[in-house]
Amino acid sequence: MSEYNFAYLDEQTKRMIRRAILKGLAIPGYQVPFASREMPMPYGWGTGGVQVSAACLMPEDVLKVIDQGADDTNNAVSIRKFFEKTANVETTAATSEATLIQTRHRIPEEDLTEDQILVYQVPIPEPLRFLEPRETETRKMHALEEYGLMYVKLYEDISQHGQIATSYSYPLKIEGRYVMDPSPIPKFDNPKMEMSAIQLFGAGREQRIYAVPPYTKAVSLDFEDYPFEAMKADGCCALCGADHTYLDEVIIDDDGGRMFVCSDTDYCESRRAAGHVGAQATPQNQEAAAS
């Protein structure tokens, strides 16, 4: 791929994106417009995240890409291959070894460190979008800090369902100022957003970049008498036995039998390697023989 620049984008474009990232870091939670480029993958497939990653990647970086928590989902594979080809960087599935992690819909279970960057793929960056379709109006609402409507939505949820009926893309207030969409991560992950790593968000189609710097206050919206509650399936991982991780539900037979497994595949594997065994797991060596 010598016909393309390192990490695909030309240096000028990367500089433009880096400027947007720096602005985003300076104003946590604020959506910075940027001139998103057409990427060789469709909008909606993570073009925003890919552009942010491309602007951050250095030749010595170690890249991890996850989709739905897993390294081996099709789109994660495809994006990882893209950077292997265009940037020739080392890739890994191990969270702790990665210096840059691009993710779709999850935050890794393992705590991230100050030496890491987490890049989110964002479909709709505007937390107010489904309350107010107009961009001109929502930008004004952010500028004037008019978040009454956001709370009306939460109010309506409680009055109808007895609780806040948002389970993913759960909005947060960043550093007491901007209300931000965390991308469609489950609300289970929201409390992890106050972390040591840099968090960058890229929305390609919507041409927005935003950021949460390390150790920034990120508070999930709620009412004093209906506090935010992280939520996950009630159960343990059938493979590693974890009861503190976000679980995927898997249908295992035609009778609708099901089991729960960790959505973060790397975390699950390292637990099993460390000897944790869930109810339906066989020891690691046997499974390897079977597959």
């Binding site: 057409e38 789109n75 479909p123 107009r134 961009e135 001109t136 493979l239 295992i252």
Partner: protein, 381 residues
């Protein structure tokens, strides 16, 4: 025994292989050449260049071939390629007044200097399938035969400079004059779209916009959703020189020639608190031969000018700059639409948990209410 799904990489490779086989089709038949596509599917090539925002027939033909004729896919290939190209600079504005026209018509004047040139149009054809084309007969010429005919070249060279029709109205002050400006227009592909957008930006978005979407919007204005009473003042198709200033030389040079379709509509206008009664205009300019798109573009352009002309916003989609500009790009639209095919099981799982929780509480509530209702009855029993 459950084993986590693996092998995404192998599945992708196999899918790509299959796709490439399907693209080629039955290999007993000859493969299409790019030249065949350029020459015989020229309007398709034009559309891919227009919406791909890149004037290059060969690349467009390649994109069409590679995409199995899925035009939005082909446009996407063009866009993705275009974005990697370095920018040497910007050309001077093309002068469509100097266009060598292959077609030029006006619906507002029966006769005008330059005359009506029908050109290669479907307009008055009878839409009957021509079964002669289905016969495999070969009308291919040898190079010598071609040279003697030179049909294409002669037409091209015969045409001369033809003035714009709207200029005649302009002389009498009957049509609103466009404000001349030398400010460099914003570049939609280099700057994020921010609203309100300048007219230059709106026109850029429309000319790249999906033909079907722009057509639908234009049609909606004709049916009364912000009706703007458009006539085709002039529609012209032809070739324009592209010139570029070369700082090292100190003058501009021709860097090539492109085919474009230009449409200027003349619209009735009763006047508003800002403007006296006079005709107003809508403008469309598209790469290649694409009059449907150019006319549609002009109608939608005119609809979006309501604020500048002091007209009322009647809430019609075509008037709504934000609605039009955010939704006319088919590459953005198709990407976001199709991305719902990607796995969403994490979000779905959290929805599942939430619904289970709410249902459990609602059912418990119902149960409680029922047993309350039943209390006297049970007591009676």
């Amino acid at each position: 025994m459950y084993v986590a799904v693996k092998g995404g990489e192998r599945a992708i490779d196999a899918a790509h292989e299959w796709l490439s086989e399907e693209r080629r089709g039955d290999r007993r038949l000859p493969a299409m050449s790019l030249n065949q596509i350029i020459e015989q599917l020229s309007l398709t090539v034009a559309r891919v260049m227009a919406e791909g925002s890149l004037y290059d027939q060969e690349l467009a033909a390649l994109a069409i071939k590679q995409s199995r004729g899925d035009l939005i896919e082909a446009i996407f290939l063009m866009r993705a390629y275009r974005t990697t190209l370095p920018r040497f600079g910007y050309s001077n504005p093309i002068d469509t007044g100097k266009m060598s026209c292959i077609r030029r018509i006006s619906a507002t004047f029966k006769d005008a200097p330059g005359g009506q040139i029908l050109g290669p149009t479907f307009d008055y054809t009878h839409r009957l399938l021509d079964f002669k084309l289905a016969a495999e007969g070969d009308d291919q010429l040898s190079d010598d035969e071609y040279d003697t005919l030179k049909v294409h070249h002669e037409v091209h060279e015969q045409s001369k400079e033809i003035p714009h029709i709207t200029e005649f109205l302009n002389k009498d002050g009957l049509i609103q004059a466009e404000v001349e400006s030398d400010t460099t227009p914003d570049d939609l592909t280099r700057e994020p779209l921010e609203l309100p957008a300048s007219r230059a930006l709106r026109l850029q978005a429309l000319t790249r916009g999906d033909e079907g979407f722009v057509l639908g919007l234009a049609y909606s204005t004709q049916r009364g959703y912000a009706r703007n009473h458009a006539f085709v003042g002039e529609l012209r198709i032809g070739y324009c020189d592209v010139e570029m200033d070369i700082p090292e030389l100190g003058f501009s040079i021709d860097i090539g020639e492109i085919q474009v379709t230009e449409c200027e509509t003349v619209n009735q206008f009763k006047g508003s608190k800002k403007e006296p009664p006079q005709f107003t205009r809508g403008y469309g300019l598209v790469f290649g031969q694409s009059e449907r798109k150019a006319i549609s573009m002009a109608l939608v352009d005119r609809a979006m000018r309501w604020k500048e002309l002091g007209e009322d916003f009647v809430g019609a989609p075509a008037q709504d700059e934000e609605f039009v500009l955010y939704h006319c790009d088919n590459i953005q639209a198709t990407g976001f639409l199709e991305h719902i095919k990607l796995p969403h099981y994490v979000d779905f799982q959290s929805e599942l948990e939430l619904i289970r929780k709410i249902r459990k509480e609602a059912l418990a509530h119902q149960e409680a209410a029922k047993s309350e209702d039943n209390q006297p009855l049970e007591a009676a029993e």
